[in-house]
Symmetry: C2
Subunit: 390 residues, 2 copies
């Protein structure tokens, strides 16, 4: 997979007209540049340079104690150093003679922002007087394309993670009942995930997130001691990792009050609105559209039905990380930087996850996962068509 | 512990004459600023600012979806935002009116370098025109002091991790024998660690590292299928985490050849040399000395005995991370930046870990852990006085 991704990277360098992609790191277990998972699959201790040129072979310059383990990855010609990386690094760059050197910093995309500011200062210091400091550019387009364009194998793994997550949602449907706390529901789901021998997509304290009833905490909060009551809408946000690839799904339930045989009309109407917003977005999405166009389709649909807009993006990419980097299906808010304007590409995998607050009942959410094809979004998950009743 | 560390931080701000310490992060689970473990103990998704002023209360500005979970930490007044952090952030800075704002970038210390270059660009963009961008300084002294000065509770946890590691070394002594591979030794140690319910100090693929014989790989490499033979020197580098704090120790063994009752003289002489170099460094270390002075004591001792100098630092700090940041007991090599010149402080915890290559036998290493006191280094581990015989 590492070799496959490096080969893909070389093709992208060619598309972008970039001569060299330089990943510059140290102590990568502590300060972990996320591109290392794609192009190395290992960690290093001292200052290290992973150089993927548009033409020629990939080279890794690493501390002498790291040489053996980096060589084991088989993906690079490895050069070791003891006292300073400077001489070897400059010689290698000189050999390539690049007109542009992409490095991993980005105001927009966390996944292309693995270079620390201290390492940036070190790098520009090393390059001082060579003229190469002026040739540094952001790698955000390279990283975005490399992470975004999922190979068949990557799609297979994500689909496996999605299917297992759906299976775990089925199981939780069978054991949830009024009187259980959010924490108890979360603990049971984790127990099921442990039985399957899989890790959660994000930190266990928040995965699953469980929210029951009208006074539940906002998204990104952990489960509490709040008890499920009859008349609550409950939602769960959960995902698991299969062979290092993540899923991220949400489902909603309604707990029937005595005598009820279906959810109240206002609950059904809210649920159906988010379901239809998701279906609309999946139907209309095409390569070449900007992320904001998809977000606003769903957002406007919901607002036109008389609901408040959701306070976040419609969807993010999923891959090795739950939030797998640019592009994003998001509105033009300052905190999203240039992300609303990035174009959707064929082979990208997105979540679709609007939410509606239903006064007196709780929050209804659905989160599905699609892969972008030339004729629209193809669901990797099975769209929740009706709110689950307990 | 978080509250204790924040209080300690305020004292250090006062010592350093710094008005505000600002930790600026996003998606901190992916791009994790290591200071968050000391001052927050949680993660956040959107752009977030954790502000610890010299005077006044700590404030956290976080995305609205993160509000609940950050409030749960109990350490900050929490302010949420939805569309942009700018207005709230500038208002809070204005309220403090700092003459200096420390941010987490450092060319020298990875632990103080959690700010990505992209986030640095965002921050200076947000501050543009306010005059505060010119007041940004590195937090490296603050972080170094905060991580380095271990409280009694921190020392207790590290000591517990050291003792458990020594116990696991004892067990491995009992089951190692010629014919076993490095991988088998490593797997058995991991099994023992799993029984104790502890995690390794660094990634399991390299923890323990096991090196047997004269042709073993360099440090920082994983165990291989190389088999232990009679006449091999073998060393293991291992550590475990107890209540989030790490140990990091190395021990050496010799496998007797038929008819031998002790290791050959050249093995004994090399082993004794590193043991005595460690004892010397522990005896002479004092608060106020520069790290390079301690390193050169041990380094010169070894070189004077006719051996090559070890190709790394004499010792690093240990704490929440195995490599717990500046200062370092290291030589004046370019790649160490200003670290050789940092002064040792009372309450810091260091490893001491010289190595000697013994031709035809293997590498002898010992790694011990000391806490720095006014009258010298006090061992938290039990110095290996003789090479273990199998």
């Amino acid at each position: 997979m590492i070799m496959e991704k490096i080969k893909q990277a070389v093709g992208i360098l060619d598309e972008e007209g970039t001569d060299l992609w330089l990943t510059f790191v140290r102590e990568s277990e502590v300060n972990h540049d996320p591109v290392l998972d794609l192009i190395l699959g290992a960690n290093c201790t001292w200052q290290s340079a992973f150089m993927i040129p548009r033409k020629g072979d990939p080279v890794a310059i690493v501390g002498s104690l790291d040489e053996a383990r980096i060589r084991e990855t088989g993906a690079y010609e490895v050069i070791g150093y003891t006292k300073s990386i400077k001489e070897v690094l400059l010689a290698q760059i000189e050999k390539i003679g690049p007109e542009s050197i992409a490095i991993n910093h980005s105001v927009n995309d966390i996944m292309a922002d693995g270079l620390s500011h201290g390492m940036y200062l070190i790098l520009t210091g090393l390059l001082e007087g060579t003229g190469y400091a002026e040739k540094l550019v952001t790698s955000e387009k390279i990283v975005s394309k490399l992470r975004g364009r999922k190979s068949d194998e990557e799609i297979r793994r994500i689909t496996a993670a999605v299917e297992l997550t759906e299976e775990l949602f089925d199981r939780v449907s069978n054991f949830m009942k009024p009187g259980m706390t959010e924490k108890e529901v979360a603990a049971s789901m984790l127990q099921e995930a442990d039985k399957e021998g899989v890790e959660t997509s994000w930190e266990r304290e928040l995965c699953p997130s469980v929210f029951t009833g009208p006074e539940s905490a906002g998204a990104h909060a952990g489960p509490t001691d709040r008890k499920i009551e009859k008349g609550h809408v409950l939602n769960i946000d959960f995902g698991v990792r299969v062979e290092q690839y993540c899923s991220d799904l949400q489902r909603s339930w309604y707990f029937l009050r005595d005598g009820e045989i279906s959810a109240p009309p206002e609950v059904l109407r809210a649920f159906d609105t988010i379901r239809d917003a998701i279906a609309l977005a999946a139907e209309k999405i095409r390569p070449g559209m900007e992320g904001r166009a998809i977000d606003s389709l769903a957002r406007n649909y919901i607002v036109e039905k008389g609901y408040e807009e959701y306070p976040h993006a419609l969807g993010h990419q999923v891959g090795r990380e739950t939030h797998d980097g640019a592009g994003l299906l998001c509105p033009e808010w300052e905190r999203y930087g240039n992300l609303p304007y990035l174009k959707v590409e064929e082979g990208q995998i997105y979540t679709l996850e609007p939410r509606i607050q239903i006064p007196d009942y709780g929050v209804a959410t659905i989160e599905e996962i699609i892969v972008v094809r030339n004729d629209g979004g193809k669901f990797l998950s099975h769209l929740q068509t009706e709110i689950f009743l307990v």
